[in-house]
Assembly symmetry: D3
Homo-oligomer: 340 residues x 6
């Protein structure tokens, strides 16, 4: 019996099981990425929905996933495909499937539905280990209900930001999939003269500062996860060619509390693994603080800075994440000086 | 019988019906701006409250508004004027009035009160078409209740940010009406030497980055509207002379999901119409994506970028907005290549 | 009988009552800082918990605090120390203690517990004036419940941001105590060529803009306080040496609506008092607006800008804060031209 | 300025202000019944609604009500009359009117509406003393919301059971207005023989026991009032001729916690005053317990029964009610040996 | 396309589709009873669950139900059978099935699950008319949530009391299925002598009065239905031989607001149809009141009793129920003098 | 380490630890009654509060309670005694104390307070086994919150009805402690003549039927307990001499779902043990049903009555209760033919 996955995953790599070429690459990717996700929803043509589902059944049966987890993204709960998606996958590869990602989640009742259906299908199929559930945050209503979505079921594993659907639902005027937008900015004041605003204000050069479109969204999503002990993830970064912007976006999510991201291209896997693994020097510093703090109370001076119970907790976040990641990644273990 | 307004309005133009000069200009503005709003509340002197109300009755009766809507902002629900405002306007020009804007809304009970009062007054006056309600978000309590405010009644048309009142209620230390503040900024780290922070940190030049005072406020307001199918608006931009800052602020709101804004001066109308109408090239791109996506499922490559079901939805937001705006604006229709 | 404190405090200065050197300085600081807070929680070694508690009893008994208030931060509600902290302090120095700061508050039930315990201890000790309660916001769950925490009891005086604990609870990957992080940034688009994105996008120089890690957190905390009529505070700024960054952080909080901050070092007291007192020229401007607006309705032109009922409220925030601060600070009173 | 009524009223006597004969009797009844209520709603013909309203205005103006209170029952909140009912009555006789009874209340929002409207009308009319609000419980939805209805506004004075409307809304199959129904009964078991149920069960005489249709309804209504400190009332007893059944129904309500009832006929006034005034011997017993219990703690033996803190509270309910009623009723005061 | 059933059903007759003898009688019963319900849950042996399900499919396909509705009771939501029950029945006889009865409902989430599953199965099977849902109230938790259960979905048709399961869940000490219990009684006081309680109290004969075990349960269930516009039903009366007790129980439910009941034996069908059809003389009286009340306002004297707007509503309940029942029952139509 | 009590207790016997005579009898009662409760609250004079508390400490220390549990009722949460009650008892006899009964509980926050205080005191005193909490339902507000009170903490053991305090809080006009009231009754209709109600209605003898004052209260309390898996109890029956009325009241509670009661006199202990133990013939019948039902599905005929899954559950309630009681009561075990 396989374990229930409780480790954060840095990269959730999407593949199209109806695409023979992509499918053929899956076995080789097993073990090199934290999660391999067979996508049945968006980007799969209606005519290919069944082929994708059956392709995933075949891949699930025939592949040895090694240290990688197997996830799927099923079709939306109001689509004509989702009932067969769940029935077929749980029945056929329920013992291989770690997590079901559910799109367009609007409220706790959506998770409750999937929870109960999984329970009945697992029982019928004799699946021994509960399949976990991951929600995508891609509607304004889901945003308003995000705290109760995260807490509604012990199956909840995590939640991902779905920036394209969410932007559309909010009528945000961006057609980019994730990332920033050059038009969202603030501008410095015009230079003033002695008697008030300069009448030529428009001509005076004024600096502009681009802003983060996703600050509120990610910050609140992280809180909802933290209060219920599940994992927050960034979602897709659509511009495959912009690896710099991609890395920025991943790092923002990491700093704000996310544990990983989706990846749509092998280039992004490499970025995700790097960004969502704490830097060895940060881990090293954190280990020194932990050691210096002894029983965890009081305060110590380290490198001229004071560390106390609260900063210790911040350091423990680093160290524990490093330990969890090192377990499945020998290279990282070596870099951290930990056992893999 | 006139239609119930369901189109987003880019510019809600405020006029003072107690000001004879302003009032005289109203007929000429009809048809050139989406909404003409007769203001009875803030900026109207207590002594002029009745004159403003009666002035609006006269304007309402005598003006042909063409494609423009007629709105009013009534006095606050705890003021001595609001009951007469509503009674008189519904009774006298209820068939001309499209939307009542309610200031300082604190919770669902405020909208419920206006809803029921309007129903009774409409019935007495024989008004055939329900007058809609628009709330202004200008208290911290209203912010905490914004989701239930937006959903409490089918009369709800939209909500506007009231940055000056909201800032005062929050005790924000800005006396500007909307827009940014140069003091809200983050600063880059001081340069480090090899062994830690530079002891002369203060003297080293460090870059500063101004931040958006309104990010959380607008983002959550947009979500509350989107989940209940009503329209979010930016409110007043007080510094009439700063047309650049004004355009920045309007664009931020547009990008985050707002459909329009208040305008306090003709210069701002022009900016609002430009900013809140999607750029023709963006509409053109969106139309191409919509066409390429056929039945709306699957993924296509366009100009070297992948588009799928989710990015299609973002494009549909653009196209549908363009279509709605084009209907009432022949010039724009031409620019979009759509029928007006 | 002393008054219940209702004035905002710009600086809440922390001292360790188990540290004899620090304790000896307390009498001299009385009257020079708004609040002197005897810390019993984080940064106090487990072995020193009793010494700190008894130290505070002694200081409380023997010190004349003048215009300064006396606060304490007790240990967490799930710690083995908090019951004795409260019992001992209320019994021994309950008539001197103004506010009890409660760490790691998760929900209304935590405040209710402290409220009832204080009521029973005050009754037993014959304390005539209710001791107020201040919560620290340092968990994701507390964040989700912040509105009900602020409103649960008439004892609630205010709430402070606890950025280190909160960051740890959210698994934010920063080990700094408050302030910004250079990695949280957005980046401008790569330069485009005529036919789309530059294929050498990565090499083109692109500007980066650092973002505020705490925008959502502080903005929502301020709203929760404002809707319940209590005071929001920034908390600790850990990097004592970075006085510039400290001032930036304090000013951000001030602009967003906070009334004060914690101070961990005398250098920070001076910054706090300066930043959280409105600038004399802003107060002067606000007074002119107030005067010009007469009965508070209508609109006036002042220095070429329109002021109305809403901007008047913003100005009253300034003037009233100035008046409250001037009462206890003769120097400030002089600067504002007010009576102290 | 008259006092705000805070005394429970035993009898709320209904009269039809459009009925000249009834109206003429009102002055003579003043002082002989706790409340005189001018009814504008059910039982007033649509054609007479205005006459009733104006009749009440005249009666209100011209009558000296002495120790009686003046109440009105306005039309339903979704009727075409209620806005004029409230506007006209508050404007014309707002200083005479003690309580407005609101029919068919469904939820807190209904009371909020009346509360705000009264506030605005009182302000306009210069009414110095708040007019209180009394709700009628006559819908299933009102029943489900009864706790929040009772607590929504400080104007709430009490709530009455409306058994006819409530029965109709519940589709109860009774066409009686209040009181019992002979068909609601339980029946004793059939006699058993040694080996089980008697095969002639139907022929064996079996006792039947009639049940109270209103137990749940009144019990929960009483709790809702008690938890919010307002008064519960029974409503109409429709069968004027059945004075025995009427007295039973009133007594049930009194025992379960109601303080009074409606009266539809002078015969019922006499019953109500008798039933809702505690019996002099019960008051006498209660006074003895109160006296014997001294400081209110401990237990005493009185007439061979133990009395303690809890039974003391029951006795205080009796004594305080007696005192309140005696204040306005010299005869009763004499019977209780209290000062009137 | 068949109509959505909106008529109350007096008798819901249970049959066991795995019992060939019972199944054979179904066609003959069609048209003689309001509802024929194929039971798959309690009383069906685990070994017969599939046979029952398939038996119902056959019956559903082959029977012409005439004016009778076809319902089913599926197995509990946590059983291993329910998913196949729903899948198979909707797929095979979805166009014949009017209502799915769901046992052991605990909260709104249970109905939501069935609602969504039915939607997906209907869509796949091309069922044109939504299958409605009926909940059984048989747990204490369901009782606490009964209002939200009734209102959670537009599919909700009604709710039935399940007295055996509910009694077990509450640990009520009765092993009867519905009906009363001789041990639940109150007793009159012992006779008193002049100086207090009789010391031989026990020997004095004291009357006992049996009480209704189900008053609170049915009263609250009726309210929950009424506020959401769905139908309340009594459930099973287990003692088939006690037709008198059965009739009492049915009548109690009818008087309190229920529209029908389950029947477990043909004898009970006859009782149910009689009891849940209003008596012709009551309908006659109600019709006279309706006629006399004209526009529905005011009051009239009829047979020496006053009728007004409220008693009119009670009469309309009778008349409308009679009309609805008469539509499908020519005999009843004749008795009421209505068209069938 | 003693076990956490999970068995229902039929009799909770109250004693006054400040009464030396009563206290002396406690050791002899140990083992003969399910619970011995040392009362510190009502019926203990203020002057004796400390003596009672210390008396209980002594009894707790010195007594071997055998199979009896030791409970205490502490003073109210707003009294000056409760903090010392809890502190002293947990510190001194925390390892002996099974349950703390909390009076006048109004809401979940009251239980939360006791829960947290117990946790801190247990930790300090090294008590290994959590002390459970029992609430008394004696306010209207507690009634409205009873579901959340029962579910707020895993320490919750049960809840008791407090009829005297509850009656006082509701202003019920009874001064009896529990039991019925002769004035709460319904009356049969007057005999009718051919043409309607008899004009001499009052003279015709009409039967009266006394009603149960406590039906709603107990029924809802039982549900609240059942849904959270805790035990409901009746409380005090004040009239010690009326053993018949006492037995009736206990049996009503037992039938409605209660597991036990308070006893104020040894006579009541005997009644409680008899009434709250199911009758051996009922247990015998239930065992036969359980046996006949095999795997628990389907239906069987037994003694001419049908038993199915639902009636099996009712029988299991009987059998399991019998088993639990038999464990601690050899006499009962013999009567049930079970092992003790």
């Amino acid at each position: 019996m396989r374990e229930i996955p409780s480790r954060p995953s840095r990269a959730i790599h999407f593949f199209d099981p109806s695409n023979a070429k992509m499918a053929a690459k899956v076995p080789a990717m097993a073990g090199t990425v934290d999660v391999l996700l067979g996508n049945l929803e968006d980007a799969i043509k209606a005519d290919n929905k069944e082929a994708a589902r059956e392709g995933l059944v075949t891949i699930g049966r025939e592949t040895d996933f090694g240290t990688s987890q197997l996830w799927t993204r099923v079709n939306a709960l109001d689509s004509p495909w989702v009932l067969d998606d769940l029935t077929r996958l749980v029945t056929e590869i329920g013992d291989k499937l770690d997590v079901v990602m559910v799109p367009k989640v609007q409220g706790a009742e959506d998770i409750h539905y999937v929870d109960r259906l999984l329970a009945q299908l697992e029982a019928k199929a004799g699946v021994q280990r509960p399949i976990l559930v991951h929600a995508i945050l891609e509607t304004a209503r889901g945003m308003a209900n995000v705290e109760e979505i995260c807490g509604v079921s012990p199956r909840m594993q995590g939640i991902s930001l779905g920036p394209a659907d969410l932007a559309a639902d909010r009528r945000m005027k961006t057609t980019r999939v994730g990332g920033g937008h050059p038009g969202y900015l603030v501008r410095s004041d015009a230079a003033k003269t002695d008697d008030g605003y300069d009448v030529h204000g428009e001509q005076t050069p004024r600096s502009t500062y681009q802003q983060d479109l996703w600050h509120y969204t990610i910050a609140r999503m992280v809180d909802a996860c933290a209060m219920h002990g599940i994992f927050p993830y960034y979602g897709p970064y659509g511009d495959i060619t912009d690896v710099v912007g991609c890395e920025d976006q991943f790092r923002n999510a990491f700093l704000l509390g996310c544990v990983g991201t989706w990846t749509l291209h092998p280039k992004q896997i490499e970025i995700a693994k790097r960004v969502f693994s704490p830097a060895p020097e940060d881990v090293e510093h954190a280990k020194r603080v932990v050691e210096a703090m002894g029983d965890g109370t009081g305060a110590v001076m380290l490198d001229g800075k004071m560390e106390d119970d609260a900063s210790l907790k911040q350091c423990l976040v680093m160290v524990r994440l490093a330990e969890q990641l090192a377990e499945g990644d020998p290279e990282l273990a070596a870099a951290y000086g930990m056992k893999g």
